[in-house]
Symmetry: C2
């Protein structure tokens, strides 16, 4: 098995092809990691979530980490780890745009099928849309030859 | 799609059946998340790693988080998130025991095939063996009916 560093283009290609990541955040020395569905758009990972622990934590500390991988078997895989900054999308136009990009993944980790509209903003089940600005990333690729 | 909380037995069964987890740790407000191979043994997640960033960080702050999932499709999955405490295995007997349990997963994220012996301890490539004591966990299961 050989393990190589992935270059920038390979990292971008992996993000563009995947819709599932693991997002880690921290609060007061505690860590938390969960799966998220996402879409990669121009240096950002776009996602959404119901209100809850990860949103609360990221609002307090926006420095997060995202891991994305593709695994064929034990000796053939790609894995990238990115540092990033949390930005909540608060404007209705941003939220509607995010919703239009993410709706095809909408049932991925969330049980509901709710839609963000001018009427729903601020309601208890209204999702929180956010983007992670990628500030640094590196990736590795393992393969047999 | 229905989403239910998993009970303790279901969480244990998921951990016992899986060998790949995502491990998150934090250092000074920064988060880090990587895949690890592991084996579940009596309330602990047993693993190993080359020396590096995650080991350095866990030695400084042992409060970590582990995520384990099994995904069939977007509407049928299991996912558990566990809080835990890092314990490094420093005694040779503990390390040899860990090695015997983990050797079948040995090429999973690590390019080498090295073995821990009395002679190799302390060498640059000698892996760090550790266990994560699970202090709290919860899981969810999504299914169609």
């Amino acid at each position: 098995m050989f393990v190589h560093e992935m270059d920038h283009a390979e990292c971008i290609a992996l993000m563009a092809n995947k819709a599932l990541a693991r997002l880690a955040c921290s609060n007061d020395g505690m860590s938390y990691v969960v799966p998220i569905s996402f879409q990669y758009v121009d240096g950002y990972i776009l996602s959404f979530s119901r209100p809850g622990k990860k949103i609360d934590w990221m609002r307090k500390n926006g420095r997060v980490c995202v891991e994305i991988d593709e695994i064929w078997d034990k000796r053939q895989w790609k894995c990238l780890v990115a540092e990033g900054l949390f930005h909540e999308l608060t404007e209705l136009s941003e939220r509607e745009h995010a919703w239009s990009l993410l709706q095809k993944q909408f049932d991925w980790w969330e049980p509901g099928g709710y839609k963000t509209t001018a009427e729903s903003v601020g309601e208890a089940l209204d999702p929180v849309y956010f983007k992670i600005e990628i500030t640094r990333m590196s990736g590795r690729r393992a393969f047999d030859e």
